[in-house]
């Protein structure tokens, strides 16, 4: 895997790109937890070149101040893809990135050969609301994200420092680490809030019918961030979509069941 930074619109954005593997390219848009080169991406990159940009506002990718709403974000991604000049390719998105992938595929359908949406945001049904991810406690968040709340990443979520903690001493290195963590979290969550607050619906239901490529909807059976009932709602608007609900997994299904999810995407690409 290699990392590079790509300039978009003459430097208005600098975008970190993770790239690994060899073969035909796949575009991967990361979720609300941010971008890391995970076992899932490693698995996906066997036989493919996985290109994973980091959305502005996350990590070192810059330019989030130029983005106010979903339309700004989509035109940014269109410019980035022009810059990368990858041709027609499959798009895979998880969580927040799943919402972006669905929106991009609806906006520029001819750009993408296949669409895989993994636990995507973007739809809202008042009788089956998406929980308020921004106000829930860390222990509830861990449970919503991971089927096994005792797993290491789940414990890391439930025990993470909180911005409202009252004692942080910035003069110590431990205090600095905590502050750096809180700053990164504040940046990424407020970036997510631009597209999800207060209700994660920016009108995708009006456009989703345009996603007619071979598509795969993937959901963790115990996802508490977005209920798995949303899988069928997505599929209902997408004429060529199959649904697969993964058992013993929640919102972080890509990390919880990397081989399973990568296998589903392999099957999609064969369609």
């Amino acid at each position: 895997m290699s990392e590079r930074s790509v300039s978009v619109r003459n430097g208005e954005f600098h975008v970190d790109i993770h790239e690994g593997g060899s073969g035909d390219p796949i575009l991967y848009l990361h979720g609300i937890a941010g971008l890391e080169w995970t076992p899932f991406l490693q698995q996906l990159s066997v036989g493919h070149t996985v290109i994973a940009p980091r959305t502005p506002g996350f990590g070192e990718s810059t330019g989030t101040e130029s983005l106010t709403d979903i339309h700004d974000l989509l035109y940014f991604y269109a410019d980035l893809l022009d810059e990368l000049d990858l041709g027609r390719l499959p798009i895979v998105g998880h969580s927040l990135g799943g919402m972006f992938a669905a929106e991009l595929a609806a906006m520029q359908p001819r750009r993408f050969s296949h669409v895989a949406l993994i636990s995507p945001f973007g739809l809202w049904e008042g009788s089956d609301p998406v929980p308020d991810l921004f106000s829930i406690s860390l222990s509830d968040l861990a449970e919503a994200m991971y089927a096994d709340v005792k797993s290491e990443p789940a414990v890391a979520v439930s025990t993470a420092p909180q911005a409202r903690m009252t004692e942080v001493d910035p003069s110590t290195s431990e205090g600095q680490d905590t502050l750096n963590y809180l700053v990164e979290r504040a940046k990424s969550m407020s970036t997510a809030a631009k597209y999800l607050w207060p209700i994660p619906n920016r009108g995708l239901s009006k456009r989703l019918h345009r996603v007619t490529q071979p598509s795969q909807i993937i959901w963790g059976a115990s996802d508490g961030i977005i209920p798995p009932t949303y899988a069928e709602r997505f599929a209902a608007s997408m004429p060529n979509a199959a649904v697969h609900v993964v058992p013993d997994a929640a919102h972080m299904v890509v990390d919880e069941k990397p081989d399973h999810v990568a296998g589903l995407i392999e099957s999609l690409l064969a369609r």
Binding site: F134, R164, V168, A192
Partner: protein
């Protein structure tokens, strides 16, 4: 110094076990606890208490805006201000204020404040809060990540609507108006003074220094924590060559009695009601993403800006609250001395005092208002007489700073 009475219009009759049975007084406070009869009494007593504060000698009266909560029942402080503009003759009407980022288009605020300024005959202070996280992000669904940006645009638009002589077009990021031409316009020339209530964020300090708006630190953490925040403000201010104490306001709970026994008997339970019930906010509603800026987090100001009221989980007692400076309680002499030392220490030219907090019965609230206004306030006015108050409404009263003999009841 100017001393104003601040009123929150708190809901007075939450059940004894409110804290145990409910997670928050704000946002998702259960609606079955709301009783319109109690609210009716609360509003009318609040208006009476505000009017009374003006009559007994306060310099101004303050009301503020909150949504979906039992802590402060004024979603529209302008309605209260309108009644007060009619009911009072000379005091400053301080609307503290309207959360300008929430109004679409924000010229609604420019219009209503102009109305209030005209009705009151030029006695309005226009407060422009960003608004608490609970009010803005949760109550009104405002995107916390864009709130400050919207606030900045709303402020620009309102100030221009008040001061620009010609009809203009406004092509903003959040507001597009082909014809801006408000009727009425404010009576004060060029406009009412702007006060900005803040909770300790660096951006608000910088903003107040850059624009010349008054900075008011409104918190219930008391003067001990307030000192940290105001030191931060004055550091920024001094770097810009600003040292006028009238540039700053500070809120403080005050209660008065003749001795310790009377003080406890009259005010202990009500003070505890306020801190343990009125400030019982679910922490998940206090810090939505983007509400606090990265700069504020980086500066390590976590303690000052994250808790709306008290950081502690346990129920506080009256004595603890006095000890930590959350409430100033004592005889008129003790309270005068403490407030004088706070105003001096924090460099405060506008002291906003809360005499009615939570469950204080109407007659006792009036007693507290009267005793504060007559036995404390006159003995503080001489402070900062060497400075000029540029933040006072043009037609509001400026009372004699010489301590007056206490009038008969």
């Amino acid at each position: 110094m100017k001393i104003e009475m601040f009123h929150l219009c708190p809901y007075r009759d939450l059940p004894e076990d409110f804290r145990e049975k409910n997670r928050s007084v704000w946002v998702d406070v259960p609606s079955h606890l709301f009783d319109a009869e109690i609210a009716s009494r609360t509003y009318n007593e609040t208006l009476d208490e505000l009017k009374y504060a003006a009559e007994v000698g306060y310099d101004g009266i303050c009301v503020n805006e909150h949504h979906q909560n039992a802590y402060g029942l004024m979603p529209s402080p302008n309605l209260m201000g309108s009644a007060m503009a009619r009911e009072t003759e000379d005091v400053a009407i301080i609307i503290m204020g309207n959360s300008i980022a929430l109004y679409d288009p924000p010229i609604r605020v420019a219009e209503e404040f102009a109305m209030l300024d005209c009705i009151s005959g030029g006695r309005l202070v226009a407060g422009f809060p960003v608004g608490s996280a609970m009010d803005t992000a949760y109550g009104y669904g405002a995107n916390p990540a864009l709130l400050r940006d919207k606030y900045a645009e709303a402020e620009e638009l309102i100030l221009k609507a008040w001061t620009e002589k010609e009809i203009f077009s406004f092509d903003g990021k959040y507001n597009q108006l082909r014809y801006v031409n408000i009727w009425p316009r404010p009576m004060q020339d060029p406009r009412p003074p702007v006060w900005v209530p803040g909770a300790g964020s660096i951006e608000t300090w910088n903003h107040c220094i850059e624009t010349g708006h008054l900075y008011a630190y409104l918190s219930y953490s008391g003067y001990k924590r307030g000192k940290q925040v105001m030191d931060g403000f004055w550091k920024v201010a001094n770097a810009a060559g600003v040292d006028n104490p009238y540039h700053a306001g500070f809120l403080q709970l005050v209660c008065i009695a003749d001795n310790e026994e009377e003080l406890h008997e009259k005010y202990a339970a009500h003070t505890e009601y306020f801190f343990n019930k009125m400030l019982h906010v679910y922490p998940g509603f206090s810090d939505p993403p983007g509400y606090r800026t990265v700069d504020t987090i980086k500066a390590g100001l976590l303690a000052q800006t994250t808790t709306f009221g008290r950081a502690s989980d346990h129920e506080a007692t009256f004595d603890e609250l006095r000890e930590s400076g959350n409430v100033v309680a004592g005889t008129p002499e003790q309270v005068t001395e403490q407030l004088r030392s706070i105003a001096k220490d924090l460099r405060i030219g506008h002291l906003m005092l809360l005499n009615q907090f939570g469950s204080i019965p109407h007659e006792l609230a009036k007693e507290n208002i009267r005793r504060t206004a007559q036995e404390v306030v006159p003995n503080l006015r001489d402070m900062w007489s060497e400075y000029e108050d540029h933040w006072w409404p043009q037609n509001a009263i400026v009372r004699d700073a010489t301590p007056a003999p206490t009038p008969a009841d």
